[in-house]
Symmetry: C2
Subunit: 131 residues, 2 copies
């Protein structure tokens, strides 16, 4: 399969796939004309990457997950540890964003949003402790 087909099937832009080859996540073969030739296993890996990235795993996480995936003797605890650590990070990110949302919602509600220059948003950013 050429890169275009793989791109459509895996849902990753060709540029991203080339980048993944660059950093050693996939190693497709080459046709005599120099085109990349993706095997089923490459396709499989890229689809895996696409999903793992969509779940917010870092590239390094993905590299580890792929290694574990290749390793038939892996302990599921290893995979679970990666996922769990990632989950913790996701949860703290959600909490941060919820804090931010709260503040912003408050600010947007307070602001008249008309032609007058009085703006509680700027006042608050000026000195957030006064809110």
């Amino acid at each position: 399969m050429n890169i275009g087909d793989v791109s459509k099937r895996a849902g990753l832009p060709p540029k991203t796939i080339r980048y993944y080859e660059d950093i050693g996540l996939v190693t497709p073969l080459r046709d005599p004309n120099g085109y990349r030739s993706f095997r089923g296993s490459d396709m499989h890996k890229l689809a895996f990457l696409s999903r793992a990235r969509a779940l917010g795993f870092t590239i390094e996480d993905c590299r580890n997950l792929l290694a574990l995936w290749d390793d038939k003797d892996r302990a599921s605890a290893d995979v679970r540890a990666i996922a769990k650590e990632h989950l913790t990070q996701i949860e703290s990110k959600i909490a941060d964003l919820q804090d931010i949302r709260k503040t912003l919602t408050h600010l947007v509600k307070e602001c008249a949003g008309d032609d007058r220059p009085d703006c509680p948003i700027l006042q608050t950013l000026e000195n957030i402790s006064k809110q």
Copy 2:
């Protein structure tokens, strides 16, 4: 004030402050010895930046907010539009992360996390539509 003092007061690393000068967000004066000399207004701007960045506004948003802040005739609607757009983005990010959390929580729960190689996490990443 020297950069160290400003750094402590604004809660921004000196490197970041120099970077903000580089990209034109602040323009401190210079002492004869070449040291940056921050006026009250610079300090003010940096504190503003520190807060706005903590709320997740992009640098470009901050640039716009600072311009509006400087503009006594601004319409509060302009500021509100920026904040509202940002709020929308925050909310969609939260929703994305909550989706991810749901999937991950499910996966971590399913996974035995022992020495056996059976791992529903990898199985799912292999073909997420089967979950």
